[in-house]
């Protein structure tokens, strides 16, 4: 018989357990155990992972929870704010008990366990100090309810940490006996067990053998079974150190303090690991002999432990319902009768609504060769066969909800491939129009429930969640949770706290760790050049060395649970029997299970993802409707996607603010590709993924598209499949079609095969493919060539349906930017959807000739709005706008920033400010809106009160006003009632603005630099000028080039640039070496700089931390309209003592350095028409003369500039 551990905390007991369930199960399996429990603290966070790990290792799982036992509520005086109030004090924690679920009862035990855990969280209130847990009475009620059908559903383990155990530790024998007697009285028979454990700690400390003996004896005396456990927190002794650090992190105290004062927090020693049979038998032996019960006592102890373990084994299928998906009841969905028929009815209604004027039986052009009706019938057949109609109806119901609320929503992912999804109104894209393959989403060969994810307006997502809860009821809906793990910075901070290091030291180390994986920190310290100074410091300092070790230990351990940003779980009324829930923070219950637990537990999860771009689109459309009241608002979802002006905007790469295509890399790609139709957008989005970029698909596609290489013909049968991507295989769907065309395997099977490519199952696929293709009469040569293509495609490539889902809002955002740029930019500011900070977009607006207007107490609303202005000639320069795109109003419409853009104002103040508009005097602002004096000063500093100043007719300046208000704000509160408060019904005398008119005019108006600084302070973004303008003189000394002037330079020109860092990226590169991309904003546009190894090494720490950078490098053309900088070195502008000599900088490096040589590619490229080519972003510069080398088809005589392409790599 092997020892079953029944009290085990996994790493998912946050800040307590160390080992993940997988590690514990593996350890137990090595010890040849048969049964293993997972009893995490306060919840079932690790439960599903535990059950799955046990299944993998051949163990039988037991589940339980380690809960706090609360005393009864205390009356007392609580809180001193606002005087003494008799408020009940939060209950004390008396100890902890373990509650196990019994098995073999069709899930009754597990259901009871879920409910007990949910109950323990119900009253938890962190702010009031109410801990998670239950009183004895509450727990007893649950145990009784679980035992209602005769057999006990729950078993309570009263152990060394319980109220009884703590009394025994203090040798209060009589009270302990009384307490145990009370337990026995309130619980039904067969549900109470005593737990004993020893960690062989010194006598008098908790978990000593003496303590264990007392537990054993009290149990026997009360005639209760006694079981042995080891109160496990980790898998092996080496992890005990991590447990210490976690204890320090949990209590926010250094280890020294915890060890010195012996507050009972730290474990008494490091014996709490998963001990094997022999050791546990030895412990049983020691306890029994010390209790004078000899070998018989030992055997009885072990036997009782086994007996309990066997009662508690859970069967994943019958007790946990694993593998069975549960959807809401038909009645809740409004379905009477057959769900398949109901689904068909709704789909046909959708057909009439969306395709009412089309012939449903006409074959839609494309590779599907289906008509609308035939496709619909086929999909409904498959759905009916798999029994998923209810699921689709559920998702359709949710989509209806959103439409009723007028919330923009769109499906994302492979769900877009389904016509049913489109007809139910969930996705705006018609799969037949874009030639999408249904089997990529659903087929009889993949019987799992598919995932349909929905993007919605980010700003309204909480309202949508609430509505879903109302609609389906709180018993059927829960939010999904996610586990947040320690990252290197957090790990360093907590480890530093534990060691008692100074905050400054710790902050310094943490600040250096930007995107450094914590688990291999020591290795990274030697490898990364910017960490070299830190590595030096460690060498001399023992404590810092320990810090690194502790950081590695903490890395990726679960730290705390939080609400998943988009997961919503829908089920029938058995939901709370299958998952425990706790508070989410937004007033709705949240399941303790995360996304990995959903599928195994058969929980249907809908990803309702708030996407800021959708909010931006909605805002822009609303603004457009407001500005053009006599026209119908643009219907983004149904408009045709073929506007040539929009594509012209996209090809111009002036796409800041647009969805998906605003990053430097994307702008390079669209600049090179020049999309002209929607399909081009789909390809662009598909190509710009790590997969296709690593598999070398981009260059061949671009070459083929521009006619610089002839597309390789594999076989006439396959030409039409690859036609849309010019002969390059890019989409998953294309691979599926190729496989089906050559082997007749069917698209469902083809999808199964596709998923095996690039894995160890590929060999079987190859064999099947070759066989079947041969059987169809294809030559060996053809089969070889095609297989080479499939093999190279591997697991790369992209799903076209995903790309379509992304391309739609990309087009919509670009369309809006083209035709309604003011409204669009207002929406972009309001919702901040993109990767760049708002300040860069201010520059973009200025470039487009749209005036940006600061907040104004009379004119601003609660959202950013378009406002007609009188264009002042000469102040706004619409720079290169490419044939008048975008269609701006030539400066007649500006964007007024909202009052919300001023940080520090409370929501109530903003509401009052808006309600009291318009204001003519400062006094009116004070009395109607009642802002705090500090906030009044902020309003003035941001320029919102300038209009009042002008109206007061005073000679005082803006600075005078700010000064005056600052003095007022700093004056101490006197407690006198405010003067001149007009009474109810009285009009204030029209005396004009007494406050402002009387201001002495002493100080000058603020300089542009001061104004910008004030704007940065109050709004976080500059409005009137750019931050870099204050460095203009410095820039002149360096002869720095502005972003807008770079395009005119030749390739390889030595330049100096400077700006505010707006993005830093280290994307995965094919060669494996790290390349750092930094984009700078210098007020005239964005400069994209690339740093290779050498530049990284000399720039060091500057690379990641400072905000203002000076960069020396060489230009590097990236496309017909794109240019970037290959950097040689960077400096921190805010530290002038580190800057190089301006007179010597430019000219010190006339030619650019060489980028690192690429290592040989791991996969053969699909067609080697050219030698291995770089992907966009890493082309090598060279002297201009070689520009013309290697452009074989470049003989067209047209007058347009020579199509750019990078020269082939030097030396190849």
């Amino acid at each position: 018989m092997h020892f079953p551990h029944l009290h085990v905390a996994s790493a998912f007991s946050a800040h307590y357990g160390v080992a993940r369930p997988e590690e514990l199960a593996a350890t137990a399996a090595e010890q040849r155990a048969e049964i293993l429990a997972c009893t995490d603290r306060d919840g079932l966070y690790g439960a599903v992972k535990h059950v799955l790990a046990c299944r993998e290792h051949g163990l039988s799982p037991v589940l339980g929870v380690d809960l706090a036992l609360l005393g009864a509520g205390r009356a007392g005086v609580a809180g001193t704010r606002g005087g003494q109030r008799r408020r009940p004090l939060p209950p004390r924690v008396l100890g902890r008990v373990v509650v196990l679920a019994t098995g073999n009862n069709a899930g009754a035990g597990y259901a009871a366990l879920c409910r007990v855990v949910s109950a323990a969280h119900r009253a938890h209130d962190r702010h009031q100090g109410h801990p998670i847990g239950l009183t004895t009475a509450q727990l007893a009620r649950h145990v009784h309810r679980a035992a209602a059908h005769g057999k006990p559903g729950l078993v309570v383990l009263v152990g060394p940490d319980s109220d009884v155990g703590k009394l025994l530790a203090g040798r209060h024998y009589q009270p302990a006996r009384t307490a145990l007697e009370r337990w026995r009285r309130v619980l039904p028979p067969g549900t109470l067990v005593v737990e004993t454990a020893t960690h062989l700690s010194p006598q008098g400390t908790p978990l000593s053998t003496g303590h264990a003996v007392r537990m054993l004896q009290i149990g026997h005396r009360a005639q209760l079974p006694v079981v042995l456990s080891n109160a496990v927190r980790y898998a092996h002794p080496g992890q005990a150190v991590t447990a210490d650090v976690l204890d320090a992190a949990r209590t926010l105290m250094p280890l020294d303090e915890l060890a010195g004062a012996d507050r009972g927090v730290l474990q008494p020693n490091g014996q709490g690991w998963l001990k094997d049979d022999d050791r546990m038998a030895l412990l049983a032996h020691e306890i029994a002999h010390a209790a004078d019960q000899g070998d018989a006592g030992r055997d009885r102890l072990l036997a009782d432990t086994h007996h309990l373990a066997e009662r508690c084994i859970l069967d994943p299928e019958h007790d946990l319902g694993m593998g069975r998906s549960v959807i809401p009841e038909a009645s809740v969905l409004g379905v009477q009768g057959n769900p398949d028929r109901e689904l068909a009815r709704r789909c046909y209604a959708g057909l009439a609504r969306l395709h009412g004027h089309e012939d449903w039986d006409r074959t839609v052009p494309g590779l599907n060769r289906e008509s609308l009706r035939s496709r619909l019938e086929r999909e409904l057949d498959v759905i009916s066969h798999l029994g998923f109609a209810g699921y689709f109806l559920t998702v359709g119901e949710v989509s209806e909800l959103m439409s009723e609320m007028d919330v923009r929503h769109a499906a994302r992912g492979s769900g877009v491939s389904s016509l049913v999804v489109h007809l139910l109104g969930i996705s705006p894209a018609d799969p037949l129009e874009y030639d999408l393959v249904f089997e990529r989403f659903l087929s009889p060969l993949r019987p799992n429930l598919p995932d349909i994810d929905i993007d919605i307006e980010s700003a309204r997502r909480h309202a949508v969640y609430q509505r879903i809860f109302e609609r389906f009821g709180p018993r059927r809906v829960a939010l999904m949770s996610m586990q947040n793990a320690y990252r290197s910075r957090g790990a360093v901070r907590d480890a530093g706290l534990a060691l008692g290091l100074g905050a400054q030291d710790v902050d310094h180390v943490a600040g250096q760790l930007w995107r450094v994986p914590g688990a291999t920190l020591r290795q990274e310290l030697t490898r990364r050049p910017e960490l070299a100074p830190l590595a030096d410091r460690l060498r001399g300092n023992r404590q810092l060395d320990l810090l690194v070790d502790l950081t590695e230990r903490l890395d990726r351990l679960p730290r705390h649970i939080s609400m998943h940003p988009c997961g919503v779980i829908l089920s029938d009324t058995t939901l709370l029997d299958r998952t425990p829930v706790q508070a989410s923070g937004i007033g709705l219950p949240m399941s303790q299970y995360d996304k990995h637990d959903m599928d195994p537990m058969g929980l249907i999860k809908l990803d309702v993802l708030g996407v800021r771009m959708q909010s931006t689109l909605a805002h822009a459309v609303a603004e457009t409707a407001r500005l053009h009241p006599h026209e119908p608002p643009p219907d983004l979802d149904t408009m045709p996607r073929d506007d040539p002006d929009t594509y012209r905007l996209i090809s111009s790469t002036h796409t800041l603010g647009c969805f998906q295509i605003e990053s430097p890399g994307q702008r390079e790609l669209i600049g090179t590709m020049g999309p002209q139709e929607f399909n081009d957008l789909i390809v662009d989005i598909s190509l710009f993924r790590p997969g296709p970029m690593q598999a070398n698909m981009v260059r061949p596609y671009l070459d083929a598209r521009h006619g610089w290489s002839a597309p390789q013909h594999l076989h006439p049968d396959l030409t039409e499949i690859l036609a849309e991507t010019h002969g390059v295989a890019v989409y998953h769907e294309q691979i599926m079609r190729i496989m089906d065309r050559m082997t007749g395997c069917g698209l469902g099977r083809a999808d199964v095969w596709r998923r095996l490519l690039g894995s160890h199952g590929e060999a079987a696929v190859e064999a099947a493919f070759r066989d079947a293709a041969h059987g169809r009469g294809y030559t060996h040569r053809t089969i070889d060539t095609v297989w080479e293509l499939l093999h190279a495609f591997g697991s790369f490539g992209f799903c076209k349906a995903h790309a379509v889902a992304f391309a739609v809002p990309t087009y919509q955002s670009a369309w809006l930017k083209t035709h309604h740029p003011e409204a669009f930019m207002a929406g972009v500011w309001e919702h901040d959807p993109g990767m760049y900070p708002a300040r860069l977009l201010v520059g973009e607006a200025r470039r487009m000739g749209i005036p940006v207007l600061g907040p104004d107490v009379n004119r601003s609303g609660e959202h950013h709005r378009v406002e007609p202005v009188t264009p002042r000639p000469g102040t706004v320069e619409p720079a290169d706008l490419d044939h008048g795109i975008p269609h701006t109003q030539d400066g007649a419409w500006g964007i007024r920033m909202s009052l919300n853009s001023i940080t520090g104002l409370s929501a109530a103040e903003t509401e009052r400010l808006l309600a009291g508009q318009p204001y003519s005097t400062l006094a009116e602002v004070k009395t109607r809106a009642r802002p705090t004096r500090r906030n009044l000063q902020r309003l003035a500093a941001a320029g919102a009160l300038d209009t009042l100043l002008r109206g007061a007719g005073t000679r005082a300046s803006h600075t005078d006003m700010v000064h005056f208000l600052r003095e007022q704000a700093e004056r101490p509160v006197t407690g006198r009632p405010p003067r001149s408060q007009p009474g109810e019904g009285q009009l204030s005398l029209p005396l004009g603005d007494v406050d402002l008119a009387g201001l002495p005019a002493r100080l000058a108006e603020p300089s542009p630099e001061e104004r910008v600084r004030a704007e940065m302070d109050t709004m976080g973004t500059e409005v009137s000028a750019h931050l870099m303008d204050s460095h203009a003189q410095l820039m002149r000394r360096y002869c720095a080039t502005r972003a807008e002037d770079l395009l005119g330079l030749r390739n390889g020109t030595e330049v100096v640039v400077a700006g505010v860092r707006v993005s830093t990226m280290t994307p995965p590169m094919r060669s494996g070496r790290r390349v750092v991309f930094i984009s700078l904003d210098d007020g005239s546009g964005a400069v994209d700089c690339t740093f290779f190894d050498e530049a990284q090494a000399v720039s060091g720490e500057v690379l990641f931390a400072p905000t203002l950078l000076l960069v020396h490098g060489h230009t590097r053309r990236t496309g017909p309209r794109g240019i970037g900088i290959q950097a040689a070195q960077a400096w921190d502008l805010s530290r002038p003592e580190t800057l190089p000599d301006p007179s010597a900088l430019l000219g010190s490096r006339p030619t650019p350095g060489r980028p690192p040589r690429r290592s040989a590619p791991e996969r053969p490229s699909p067609r080697q028409v050219q030698p291995s080519a770089p992907e966009p972003g890493t082309s090598e510069p060279s002297a201009p003369a070689s520009h013309t080398r290697g452009a074989p088809h470049d003989t067209s005589p047209h007058a347009a500039p020579r199509p750019w392409r990078p020269p082939p790599p030097v030396g190849d």
């Binding site: 024998y173 700690s201 004896q217 080496g238 005990a240 447990a243 020693n269 490091g270 070790d549």
Partner: protein, 136 residues
């Protein structure tokens, strides 16, 4: 022990009462029986031979071989590893948090009274160290 407490203890006597406590902030109670032969803390030469289960059966001290007469007692006490260790690498499987302590009563051939040895065993290197010896 007060009168009430002595009544409370009841019918059983805690066998651990005679074990001197080391560590965890509780002070060691001096042995009631013999006098200290060697003050605690002096690292003295000692060789310990164990049986198959790792339990000591012989202690060689100052040239004399002492045979263990009572079942030895073992416990683990916490260390302040953050003060003494240079490294606590993640891959280590050895506990840095505690140290293994033994109390062994052994009789030298020909002696009348056994000695009680307090030993600590290094879990990494399996070295034994003598903490102190008392007579009795």
């Amino acid at each position: 022990m007060t009168v009430v407490e002595s009544m409370e203890v009841g019918s059983w006597e805690d066998p651990w009462d005679s074990v001197p406590v080391i560590g965890a902030g509780v002070r060691a109670a001096p042995s009631r029986q013999g006098r200290e032969l060697i003050p605690e803390g002096t690292a003295a030469e000692v060789v310990v031979r164990c049986n198959g289960a790792g339990v000591p059966r012989e202690v060689v001290h100052r040239g004399g071989v002492h045979h263990v007469v009572e079942p030895p007692v073992r416990w683990y006490e916490r260390r302040k590893w953050w003060e003494s260790e240079d490294r606590v690498p993640r891959e280590s499987r050895i506990s840095m948090v505690d140290r293994e302590l033994w109390q062994v009563q052994a009789l030298r051939g020909g002696a009348a009274v056994p000695c009680t040895f307090r030993l600590v065993r290094n879990q990494v290197s399996d070295q034994w160290q003598l903490l102190g010896v008392t007579l009795g």
